[in-house]
Amino acid sequence: MARYLTRNRLRRIYKWGGFPVSHDRKLKTDEYDSLHISLEDLPRTTVITNGQYILIEGVDDDHPYVAKVTKLIESDKKKKALVQWFARVGEVPPNKLKLLGREPHPQEIFYYEGPTCEDEIDVESILNTVQVHQSLLDDLRSSSDEEEEPQEEEEEEEEEFCASQASMRTPRKTPVKKATPTTPRTPRHATPSIPSRSLPARQPGSALEEARARLHVSSVPESLPCREQEFQDIYNFVESKVMDGTGGCMYISGVPGTGKTATVHEVIRSLQRASDADDVPAFNFIEINGMKMTDPHQAYVQILQKLTGQKATPDHAAALLEKRFSHAGPKKESTVLLVDELDLLWTRKQNVMYNLFDWPTRRHGRLVVLTIANTMDLPERIMINRVASRLGLTRMSFQPYSFKQLQQIIMSRLNKVKAFEEDALQLVSRKVAALSGDARRCLDICRRATEICEHTSLDPGAPGLVGMSHVMQALDEMFSSAYVTAIRCASVQEQLFLRSVLMEFRRLGLEEATFQQVLVQHQALCRVEGLQPPSVSEALAACQRLGACRLLLLEPSRLGVLQRVRLNVSQDDVLYALKAE
């Protein structure tokens, strides 16, 4: 059900405590030293003073923002507070979080120094006070990186509105390598999220459920088997460019489900590990997907936003990026850009693709572009010469998986969870390899087979292994066409109509007839069968129903009896379906 915000909540009343302490004549503001918050109809009041930590209403009701009050002022008859923001663990981007070098406590908060965030807030957004335990700060100042700003680190015990389970924790201290508060995202404009569930998702219980969870396409495998060569090639390419501080392009092609995107992601993951260990210089990784944008020019906007956090119109973003990639910066990191579904970035003048491939060739670009598409000959087919030439000849094509590889993929995913019979796995992988070599398909079939196994087993406690019969059934469900069954299940008049279509085709020697011609046959056939011939409307309705399931292809129905009828199934299928009765 859709949620609508019609909830009434208790109104809070905000009052200054005492009289103004001082008055700023320039800004025309009064400063106070305390604020009283009380709930309507409730006697309890909360007092907020300078230096206190508070919770501020935000996007997420469960996780309000945390800040520290620095000043309480009244300007223009409006009550304001100047605050110092703190970021929760969840608000810090994961790649920055890694720099911490240890597992953060879930209740931990971080000093936030982003310049983008406004520090003046309306007092009416203050929810409550919160207790924060500070760890020792002095140690941090002596950390290795002198030129970076030192980072304060606080540990927070959150006191929700009437929470009483505040456990005492010893404050932890850890050296922090770098300052982290460079989140591009301000707490005020954080991205929205799907609300979190009240009960945690149930974990898989039996071996089959475990297998199913592992076989889901989304589960990230420990390693990517069967793509070692490709992995190594891409790794070497990106690593060398990043090391040298130059730029380059690579084109990766392959049919869907052959692990193109997964391999590139794996490469980036290991490169990031290497850069954390200082083996490789640090680099930015940006990913865009042609399918995930509405217009090719949005690519500029997305790249710019991911690179700098700025928002701009496509034209402006293109200009900014142009400037960024063509001028040398004082301390510029390399950028690795992954462009997925490249063919969607095609425009008539191809300027998006041109720019993407031109920036790496600039002297100060330091941009590595990895492009992914489905077709091997995309550069030749859709790109004009100057674009194709800039893309270069570094190409790689991912071959569809062979059955042995598919089998290995499933085995490595299952990782010794014993759920499948050996033969069953082989059948799946042979079948998929023969059809498409799409690993996604293979995993989906296996997943479905485990379900079938679970349903058909006599003893629900111990379902046993997935065997040939289960796999066969899953394959049948996924690949068999329903045309024959649909014809068999159709009503008598619909079947007769199909038969008369065939008769008319045979009479005309064509694969097309008008409804009127078929109707004559249909009525004759009804008389032969001893049924009352249908009226025109009834026959037309039957014809339209067959057209709606696409057993027949019809012209628009406004043509009435003159519309032409074609079959969408082979004649043999129709005959087979009708004869079998």
């Binding site: 799907i194 969607l344 009226s535």
Partner: protein, 477 residues
């Protein structure tokens, strides 16, 4: 105590009838879900398991429910959802997004609708949601932030799934299915469609991301099951209906009705023509409308009447309302249609064709009229020359004088069909606008006969039935 008393005491008949009407109308108008859809147990189980795994385990899935119209796809889904939401902690967990391909005709509208239904839009407070690109990025980011174990699962229901495949680049489908195949917020994408070839519509990268689970719903009932279904649809519940005696009588009469031979024949004809449950419900609704205080049970005659009403041919109905002149024109056109084998012809040819048999009947053979003059009405001298163009007034069977052709067109267009300006009129005769001006200055009209698949004999029969006994009418054979 009082309840039992109420149940025992006979209610006035009017009260009972209105109860029956409310109860059955709810059932026939698909407002009330059945306990469990019949004959689709395996499909029900499959879908139930699938959605349950999404709701409880946070596993992402995608599935298509395919079946011809009126086989209960939506009903199946609604039943499963009702059952699923009845379980505690699922109803608080599962978020639902309902989309329909006929309403959300492009991705922009669909995205707006998704953000609205997920109530993500108010999250940014006063920020105005502008562009399509922002919306897409926003939704994708929201979905990406979630993960399997902590986010609430989202159920996307795409009705008329095949229409979403016609959106530009299939962006929405790609993104939804991509989320279902990656470690983001758990989603279940359920598509409903009546096209059997729907998978061929998907682009290959979209297709690869679809899990290829298909639940086929095909009507496989036999005629005896169909009869039982009819009976079940009209059956009154013994336990909950307030008046037991009325309920007993009703159910007994219903049983007798279904055993009647003529009723069985009507239902068999209906069954042969379509297995669509909606069309059965239409028939039963027509019967239900006849139930009143004077007619408290359903009689076989009611069913026959209702069936005749519903299966009447629309084209034939239109012919019933034609005047003699119009009918004569139609007959003449039918002749010409046979002669020219469906090629178009003009009004002049129709007029000539009209005159020939009429003249033979009237015993007066005249020369062709109205060849040249566009200025004045071309007159054809007939026996009663000034009968005027109104066929009802004068000797209609005789050829009326041909009025000015433009007038004739106007009149024909107005008077054809039962309603003025109704659709039927145009479906019988395609009277084109004047296409070109003849060399002589007269307007020549192209007239094509459409939808005239009845034989000429049938046309005459209709004419006879309609005009029999009217004074001054003599039918021409």
């Amino acid at each position: 105590m009082s309840k039992r008393k109420l149940k025992d005491s006979p209610m006035p008949i009017g009260e009972c009838i209105s109860q029956v009407q409310t109860l059955l109308r709810e059932r026939l108008c698909h407002q009330q879900l059945p306990q469990r859809p019949e004959g689709v147990d395996s499909q029900h189980k499959h879908l139930m398991e699938l959605l349950k795994r999404t709701a409880v385990h946070g596993e992402s899935n995608s599935v298509l429910i395919i079946g011809p119209r009126g086989t209960g796809k939506t009903q199946l889904l609604r039943c499963v959802l009702a059952e699923l939401l009845a379980e505690e902690d699922v109803d608080k967990t599962l978020l639902q997004v309902h989309l329909n391909g006929l309403l959300q005709t492009d991705d922009r509208i669909a995205l707006k609708e998704i953000t609205r239904q997920l109530s993500l839009e108010n999250v940014v407070g006063d920020q105005v949601f502008g562009s399509f690109a922002e919306n897409l990025a926003f939704l994708l980011e929201a979905l990406k932030k979630g993960d399997r174990s902590s986010s609430r699962p989202v159920l996307f229901i795409l009705d008329e799934f095949d229409l979403f495949a016609h959106h530009k680049n299939q962006t929405l489908l790609y993104n939804l299915l991509d989320v279902s195949q990656s470690a983001q917020t758990p989603v279940a994408v359920v598509g409903l469609t009546c096209r059997l070839d729907v998978l061929e519509l998907l682009e290959k990268r979209v297709k690869s991301r679809f899990s290829h689970r298909q639940i086929h719903l095909l009507p496989s009932l036999s005629f005896s099951q169909y009869l039982q279904a009819v009976q079940a649809q009209l059956h009154l519940p013994d336990t909950t209906f307030p008046d037991t005696t009325f309920c007993y009588d009703w159910n007994a009469s219903l049983k007798a009705l279904c055993e009647d031979k003529s009723v069985e024949a009507v239902l068999l004809r209906h069954f042969n023509s379509t297995k669509d449950f909606r069309s059965l419900h239409r028939l039963l609704m027509a019967i239900l409308c006849r139930v009143s205080v004077n007619n408290p049970t359903i009689k076989p005659a009611d069913l026959l009447d209702a069936s005749r009403l519903l299966s009447a041919d629309a084209m034939t109905n239109v012919l019933h309302g034609l005047s003699i002149l119009e009918l004569c024109l139609v007959i003449a056109m039918k002749h010409l249609n046979d002669i020219y084998d469906g090629e178009p012809f003009n009004l002049q040819m129709v007029y000539n064709g009209l005159r020939a048999p009429a003249a033979a009947g009237g015993g007066a053979s005249r020369g062709r009229g109205g060849g040249g003059g566009g200025a004045g009405p071309a007159r054809v001298p007939t026996g009663e020359a000034h009968a005027g163009p109104q066929p009802d007034h004068g000797g209609a069977a005789e050829v009326p004088p041909v009025p000015h052709r433009c007038q004739a067109v106007g009149r024909l267009r107005l008077r054809l069909g039962p309603e003025e300006g109704g659709r039927e009129e145009r479906r019988v005769l395609h009277l084109g606008l004047p296409r070109r001006v003849c060399s002589g200055g007269g307007l020549v009209l192209c007239v094509t006969v459409r939808h005239l698949s009845q034989s000429l004999r049938q046309l005459y029969q209709h004419a006879e039935r309609f005009y029999q006994g009217k004074p001054g009418v003599k039918l021409v054979r």
